[in-house]
Symmetry: D2
Subunit: 275 residues, 4 copies
């Protein structure tokens, strides 16, 4: 067992008269000076954003906050119904479902693009070109060979185009983040559409994955953005559940329907029981 490695954190410190966060004076440099999204940027990068980074980053977080009635908000509401005295636990329950199925495609597309274009930021031009088209062909081919879904493409509801993608890319144009990764993601969407014979446009998670690459944020950070933004949305759902509940009603309906076929039926026998 290894021992006596020093413990070290570079995030924050306190003295009687001041608090430092990533080297900034919390009270004078941050409170009243930067918005909540900039503070989040500071937490994940260790520095404050410039004006373009601030606009792009806040837009990404705003996109991720609210998804309406989905499994994670239902988990939070179910939890609140049982433990209304611990609102933090209801929010936590909602966060726990932000795994591979829903939120995973943001980090999936960020990983895919960063792996294909390890040093692509600010690259040789932000237009699709033969190099990007070739990389995209290879990505699509490899995913098909391994029977894996290409992350960040298609959407069950938002058809033919995801309106968030259009808006995010417009903001990226205005702030200087519409670069090589966005172009590569577009090439991937085109190549996938051709390969599968149906439109597979970039959805919001694919757009955010590409924009995280543009901003130099790792795939791990991209997952973290989803987690922090959804925490905000989950607080909203818990507050609504407190005033206008649906968990109990949904429970009663589900219980009634799911067990009707067996209610009152027993097949157990006294023998065959363990000690």
């Amino acid at each position: 067992m290894k021992k006596n490695t020093a413990l070290r954190s570079d995030i924050a410190w306190s003295t009687p008269e001041a608090i430092g966060v990533h080297g900034y004076d919390l009270c004078h440099d941050l409170m009243g000076e930067v918005n909540f999204g900039d503070m989040a940027f500071l937490e994940v990068t260790g520095r404050l954003p410039d004006a373009n980074e601030s606009r792009m980053f806040n837009a990404i977080l705003v996109t991720l906050v609210e998804h309406g009635i989905v499994p994670s908000t239902l988990a939070a509401r179910m939890t609140y119904a049982g433990a209304p005295e611990a609102m933090q636990a209801a929010v936590a329950a909602g966060l726990l479902g932000l795994g591979s199925v829903f939120v995973g495609s943001t980090e999936g597309s960020a990983r895919m693009l960063a792996a294909a274009l390890p040093d692509g930021r600010g690259g040789q031009g932000a237009q699709p070109d033969a190099l990007l088209a070739g990389l995209a062909e290879e990505i699509v081919k490899n995913h098909r060979a391994e029977k894996k879904i290409i992350p960040g493409l298609g959407h069950p509801i938002h058809k033919p185009l995801d309106p968030r993608t259009l808006r995010l890319f417009a903001i990226a144009q205005q702030t200087g983040f519409h670069g090589r990764y966005v172009a590569l993601m577009q090439c991937v969407a085109d190549a996938a559409g051709a390969a599968y014979g149906k439109p597979l446009p970039i959805n919001a998670t694919g757009a955010i994955g590409a924009l995280c690459c543009e901003m130099g944020l790792s795939w791990k950070v991209s997952h973290g953005l989803g987690v922090m933004a959804r925490a905000v949305g989950l607080v909203g759902h818990v507050l609504e559940e407190a005033k206008q509940p649906m968990a109990m009603e949904l429970w009663h309906r589900a219980e009634e329907e799911a067990t009707a076929h067996s209610r009152g039926k027993l097949h157990g026998k006294a023998d065959g029981k363990g000690g």
Copy 2:
């Protein structure tokens, strides 16, 4: 069992071409237009803030994001050490400790002030006066009689004054939120100091409790602000743990020290065991 109450949520909806959040068009009214803190305000109040509300509210959230190495960040780091593949679970583990001991005093002071002054917003003048002094005396007397700690006063490190309180109240002056609840909280601090014979200045949680009252936000919302802000800070700690870990080292030290007294000692006997 009651049945067939309609399920209803007024937070968000989706159609193929648009997403509505609290009546706003996500893509056109919110993304790129409002910052993450304003989006949080929308989630907890159902409307966007004006400029003063936005500055005050963002300042409150920024204050709450980061608390350095504390039990909740250690819980998150310990969880990440065991399940690095599920970052959302590490953040959730950190949120779970935001209960009565640390975060509870924000909602505690908000409840205390709102109960004493049910309609005090924008009241008859923001200066301490005889009415507020009387309410404060009563609050202190009641807490002493029930042997309860008055929430929002004193701090183990930030002495003699909590620098965050000074800054929050300065921003409140600038934005029009330095009103009756802030004055009442100051009266409570004075009365408590006199009663206990030692300085008990308003700490950051007491300041935020008072400012939530000024902004018309319920104590439940005040708790929610702590939860969402700390989720942002917890993402920062999980990302640091991934690069510069301390959980394993802390574990090994704790295990070594905590069990040294008993290691190798057995007193169990074969008899007296249950079936």
Copy 3:
């Protein structure tokens, strides 16, 4: 800030060749020798149960394992639907709802009975008598005065009697745990029924609260029993969800119904937005 208090745990230790748990040799005294319920008894009391304690304690845990489709199992299933790669998180999400509304009445009745009869175990006879009747009258009177629900009485489905209560008390008779606390709980049920003019029989949580008192287990332990038993049941529900899912279907129905009234409606305006 206090410093250098020694860290100490008396639960377990490891050496290369042995593991001690509460003073027992895990491999020789426990594995293959005691059942899972006895191990749980050891964890919460620090010793192994005798045969009567083992039977009563295992029966209590068995009672608490499974409650069918309820909010906590639905929260677990919703979480599994989003993060199937982290089963532990789905179980944890289910546990988070075991708060004041559902599980709280076990610890509530244990606290109520222990407070009324601080040293009642093995008392002066296990039959209801004038002393117990008087204590029960007072309990009912106090709860009515404070408009609080008496924990452990009545059940929305199991009428007129909760079959689990009958069975638990029968096992208590056989194992020597049908004592003063059970008698007091029965007196409370009788007094409450008279006061409210309707039958309010002891439900399973009230029975378990009383039996925890009989076994010398604190109310905090009684809550812990619910948590550990439900963890077992939640694993069962997560495994069923993996094979025979209901979360996605329930989500789609809830989303469809809850947002139909507002879908497509916008009232947001460009003005009034914060910075």
Copy 4:
């Protein structure tokens, strides 16, 4: 969006007078009749165990309950320190770290063995033979080629042999579960030891992985056993933390050490801030 799939659960139902669990009458077939481990077996398999299954299964669960001061118990204690009113949340926080690093090797070895020997239960003899040796060689070769750790082998403390493995396999001999999967796991340990030039004996997670295969339990169930057993142990640690705390002390030490290098240092500047 698919619609109107029926909701169905086959685990439990309630009527006013009875409760069914996997087809058994809870009050008459289970309470007082089976122990907590048998109830857990019922939850994960849908039937009660026979006497041999009961002994083996209870022994596995007993093995998994307690691991002393480890990251998951520290996460639970840290959480309890902040939210002592929500014990269930402290247990949940502890469960959240039961991911790939610690608990994953049980399911990892179960998956590995089941894939190599899809129909090996009760096979052609429980002794290592040429077939098993060949399968083991291939497993070791493949793991080395992919630079993956072979799950279930070696232990940082328990050397040269894990005492739990010896005991589990002895119980397996007595109960009829010392079959082809155990033999294959032994061949894997031998082949790995030869390949890596150092002893790599089967640890407890590897033994339990093999025994789950012997009992016909899937790798998903094997993960579930760890989760339910640790929930029991976590309740024990939370109860100890309530009486004999270490979280606050550990926090203060960690905070002091980790931030000493930077305390009081600021490098933030007013420029470069985002909007």
